[in-house]
């Protein structure tokens, strides 16, 4: 509760000083609008922002789901097969040295201007954090538990199911939370590069027409959506997996 009050106060004071600064310096509105005019732009264009938000939300949710599933499958593969670890891990790390921005135009070229290229972009950006976090958890299962399992003659499959996977749930959750923050970035990059829908598109559009207030309104909408997604997923993970997280 205290935390919420702090956050609200922080934002209110930021807006206050922003408003104050703009009034004192009086820059042209296309350079920096006042918070009030951003709010006005938001109200005026609420239907437009809403429609484009839905597109981005759908891209993010699909990308998030597929990305998390792919990341988990990869982490399990890395854990189960030594050969996969030897071949895939260097490849994964190499893939991270390529900035996703750089391949966004390629994705648009290959997959078109529709939703697919944005979903793939979101997948690409979250795949590695999820894989890495989950695999760290799996491979860091304390040796003493595995020793105990060995004296109990547990099979590899069951050790994975009942010891390694439960042990790695906290790391996996960190990876998923990170993915919630990254996925919207991926989708918006995809929209910037080539699309006719989505918040990223709306920002580029607003920017091009020097509607800076609309640009800010879209930006804040994106921020609020990301935070909501993060909070919601964190909450769901916490309540559904609490017995693995509190230990």
């Amino acid at each position: 509760m205290k935390a919420i009050i702090y956050i609200v106060c922080t934002f209110l004071s930021i807006f206050f000083f922003w408003e104050l600064a703009v009034r004192l310096a009086n820059p042209p509105p296309y350079i920096l609008p006042t918070p009030y005019s951003v709010l006005a732009a938001f109200k005026e264009n609420s239907l437009l922002i809403y429609e484009h938000s839905i597109v981005t939300i759908v891209e993010v949710l699909i990308g998030l789901t597929i990305g998390i599933i792919l990341g988990m499958i990869t982490a399990l593969t890395l854990e189960i097969f030594v050969t996969a670890r030897l071949i895939l891990r260097p490849l994964l790390i190499f893939s991270q040295s390529i900035p996703v921005f750089a391949i966004a135009p390629l994705l648009t070229l290959w997959l078109g201007y529709g939703i697919l290229s944005k979903v793939v972009m979101a997948i690409l950006i979250i795949y590695f954090p999820v894989t890495s976090a989950f695999h760290d958890g799996l491979s860091q299962t304390p040796k003493r538990y595995l020793d105990l399992a060995k004296t109990m003659r547990g099979t590899n499959r069951r050790n994975l199911l009942y010891l390694k996977i439960p042990h790695s749930i906290p790391s996996l959750c960190s990876g998923i939370k990170l993915a919630c923050v990254y996925a919207p970035i991926g989708a918006v990059i995809g929209e910037w590069v080539g699309s006719s829908q989505g918040l990223g598109y709306l920002m580029i559009l607003a920017n091009g027409r020097v509607k800076t207030d609309l640009m800010f309104a879209s930006l804040f909408t994106l921020g609020i959506l990301s935070i909501t997604l993060f909070g919601l997923i964190s909450y769901l993970l916490q309540i559904s997996l609490s017995k693995y997280l509190k230990a």
């Binding site: 105990l148 399992a149 060995k150 003659r153 069951r158």
Partner: protein, 242 residues
């Protein structure tokens, strides 16, 4: 789940790591149906010997053999209890007790499990998680898990080491009573425990490991038995003279 006759175990040979000899000429006879103690100071490698017998990976190599008198493999009929209770933090006491069954994918009788949980006095705590238990209760849960495994050989690696003295006394009595009829190898650095509980006592030293005289059955001896204190004193002298 397996043959109830406990085997005796014999370990003969030398144990060396890459850089040094841990134990030259080691001869341990772990007899059936009784407690055998490995006594030695911390860090000497007592746990390593247990790991060798349990078939767990170690940093050492054994030149020699570990055999049982019935010539059957050993490592698949041991259970292991350590100072760290090794309870799975995300599982309830009840689930921890039957962890072995779950890892082997075998069916078990819930009545048997409840009986064991009752025996160790955790009926009121069976749905709790390990972090909700006291140190003594956690060690009781670990004992229940060991009893559920019901293997003829039990390896104890200072399982009472972290308990306060009252809890430790209760735990020792309970453990001794409930492991009757099993071949127990007990690692400890406490000569008093060794004297009270063990029919065979080995003092582990770098160069020479010696078999020490022990008290006559029955065991366990009362805590304040004079003979226990005498033997404890002489064991302590021998460990110190090392």
């Amino acid at each position: 789940m397996m043959s109830s006759t406990s085997p005796s175990i014999e370990l003969i040979g030398s144990v060396r790591s890459e850089s040094e000899v841990l134990f030259g000429d080691l001869r341990l006879a772990v007899r059936a149906n009784q407690w055998t103690c490995l006594l030695g100071s911390s860090g000497i490698g007592k746990s390593t010997i247990l790991r060798l017998i349990a078939g767990l990976p170690t940093h050492v190599k054994l030149d020699g053999s570990i055999k049982s008198n019935d010539h059957l493999p050993i490592s698949n009929r041991v259970s292991y209890m350590a100072q760290n209770d090794l309870l799975i933090p995300w599982a309830t006491v009840s689930a921890n007790v039957s962890l072995g069954n779950k890892l082997r994918g075998e069916k078990f009788s819930p009545e048997k499990k409840l009986k064991i949980i009752e025996k160790v006095g955790l009926m009121d705590h069976k749905k709790k998680y390990p972090f909700q238990l006291s140190g003594g209760q956690r060690q009781r849960a670990a004992l229940a898990r060991t009893l559920m495994e019901n293997t003829p050989i039990v390896l104890l690696d200072e399982p009472f080491g972290s308990l306060d003295s009252k809890t430790r006394e209760e735990m020792i009595d309970l453990t001794f009573e409930s492991l009757k009829g099993k071949t127990v190898l007990f690692v400890t650095h406490d000569p008093h425990e060794a004297a009270r509980l063990c029919e065979s006592i080995y003092i582990l030293r770098r160069q020479k490991t010696t078999s020490n005289k022990s008290l006559k059955p029955p065991f366990p001896k009362p805590y304040s038995d004079k003979l226990v204190f005498d033997l404890q004193y002489s064991l302590l002298e021998k460990i110190k003279s090392n």
